[in-house]
């Protein structure tokens, strides 16, 4: 493997990885964001305390979070097959990645929203704000920097998981690293994929940091 074809393999692997990571993080937020909001408002100190709902969500999140990703990947293979039609490849990997991302995101959203000053929430209630308005116009906007940092962390974590999925033929850079580097002893390819993964992580981190500095109004 030299020159052009190697470049192409890495390029398409990077594309696959980005697709998997972005898609499953987006889907993860689709599920995890509402969960995180519900965890925040239903907690005993929240704006709509509901011990029953909180316990259930908390339990679901704890259980899914405590399963190691590789185990989860194998465990839900039947479900993946049911949804996608097969249990290997880029698109299939999105399913376990989403399942892993959602509870992680829910927890991060919860902790971001709980950082919002109680006094500000109380001020909104005193003005006659309803619960939905408080979520939309107080909790989320006030927590936006912390939420943004959460997005960066989620993307990074999911990027790591996506590489792990390579072990079971999950597509993307991890897949390439395993196939070329591990099975065919092409150390160079492995090193290049690792380099690209590190690069992606750095870029993510950089963008995240830039945006959170740029839009944080809490400092004079």
């Amino acid at each position: 493997m030299v020159g052009d074809s190697l470049f192409n393999v890495i390029l398409s692997g990077t594309g696959e990885t980005l697709l998997m990571v972005l898609l499953s993080t987006a889907l993860g937020y689709f599920i995890g964001l509402p969960m995180g909001i519900l965890l925040t408002v239903s907690d005993s100190s929240g704006i709509a305390p509901n011990a029953f709902l909180y316990k259930i969500l908390d339990g679901v999140v704890n259980i899914t979070r405590s399963i190691p990703f590789l185990i989860l990947l194998i465990l839900i293979q039947p479900i993946t097959k049911l949804i996608v039609g097969k249990s290997y490849g880029t698109v299939s990997t999105v399913v376990p990645l989403t399942v892993a991302a959602a509870p992680l995101i829910a927890r991060m959203v919860e902790s971001s929203l709980k950082e919002v000053d109680k006094g500000v929430i109380e001020a909104a209630i005193s003005m006659g704000a309803g619960k939905l308005l408080i979520v939309n116009k107080v909790l989320i906007p006030e927590a936006k920097i912390s939420l943004l940092i959460g997005v960066t962390i989620s993307l990074g974590t999911i990027l790591g998981y996506s590489a792990m999925a390579g072990v079971v033929g999950g597509g993307g850079l991890g897949d390439i690293a395993i196939r070329y580097g591990y099975y065919r002893y092409e150390t160079k390819v492995m090193l290049i994929t690792v380099f690209v993964l590190v690069l992606l992580m750095q870029v993510l981190q950089y963008i995240g940091n830039y945006l959170s500095k740029r839009y944080d109004r809490r400092k004079a």
Partner: protein, 251 residues
């Protein structure tokens, strides 16, 4: 019938299975257009009392009537509507840190259902009123304490409330800034006839702007009357202690 009627209100907090009486059988009537002070030491129940007036805290027993309406009889949506007519300002200002000054003032209007554009237009008028027009683009983190409280006052005024509740609104400010904030409160009381309830532990604040004052101690109403009378001739131990201590600390 008074504008604000508090009848036999008690409030018990339950924490760790034990109940703690924060207010004990309080009855107070506040007239329309009055500036009414509530004074007491830390833990006396002042915040609990003022929070019962807009039902941020629901009394354990007793009745709170605002302009004839018993708050306990309101449905959730009706209570929210009522709250729009009761502004509140706080010791720590409680501004939205990620919104600029103009949008902070517009926030209370958005809560009342006004469109953002219209809300901003009205918010600007109110910023002029509190003398912060030039700071409209600034964020709260860039303001002094006194400026933040002026923003909070503008925000409370925006919805044209009939009542403004102040919970230690000047406690985080220096004496000079305190005087300016009290001046503004006095002005809006005169100009719009807004009823103002002032919670404080500082006698000087009561002296400066209140018509009448209630003295709370350990959740009990110890004394109530015109400020001049209470200061000259306090009957209760609690009032005597507050007045005597404040004179000593000044002298």
């Amino acid at each position: 019938m008074s504008f604000i009627e508090v009848e036999h209100v008690s409030k018990e907090y339950i924490s760790e299975g034990k109940s703690f009486p924060a207010l004990k059988d309080i009855s107070i009537s506040i007239e329309k257009g009055e500036i009414f002070g509530v004074i007491g030491l830390s833990g006396a129940g002042k915040s609990t009392f003022v929070r019962c007036l807009n039902y941020l805290e629901k009394p354990t027993s007793g009745v709170v009537r605002i302009d004839g309406t018993d708050l306990s009889e309101l449905k959730e949506a009706q209570l929210r509507e009522k709250r729009q007519k009761i502004g509140m300002i706080f010791q720590h200002f409680n501004l939205l840190m990620q919104r600029n000054v103009l949008d902070n003032v517009a926030f209370s209007l958005e809560v009342s259902g006004m469109k953002k554009k219209e809300a901003r237009k009205k918010a600007l008028e109110l910023l002029k009123k509190v003398g912060l027009e030039d700071k409209k683009k600034a964020y709260p983190a860039q303001l002094s304490g006194g400026q933040k409280q002026r923003v909070a006052i503008a925000r409370a005024l925006a919805t044209e409330p009939e009542i403004i509740l102040c919970d230690e609104a000047t406690s985080a400010l220096d004496p000079e800034t305190t005087r300016r904030i009290l001046e503004i409160l006095k002005d809006i009381n005169k100009e719009y006839g807004i009823t103002i309830v002032v919670i404080t532990h500082a006698m000087s604040v009561v002296e400066e702007i209140c018509d009448r004052v209630a003295v709370l101690d350990s959740g009990e109403l110890k004394e109530m009357g015109y400020v001049s009378r209470v200061f000259k001739n306090p009957h209760s131990k609690a009032a005597k202690r507050l007045i005597y201590d404040s004179e000593r600390s000044v002298g």
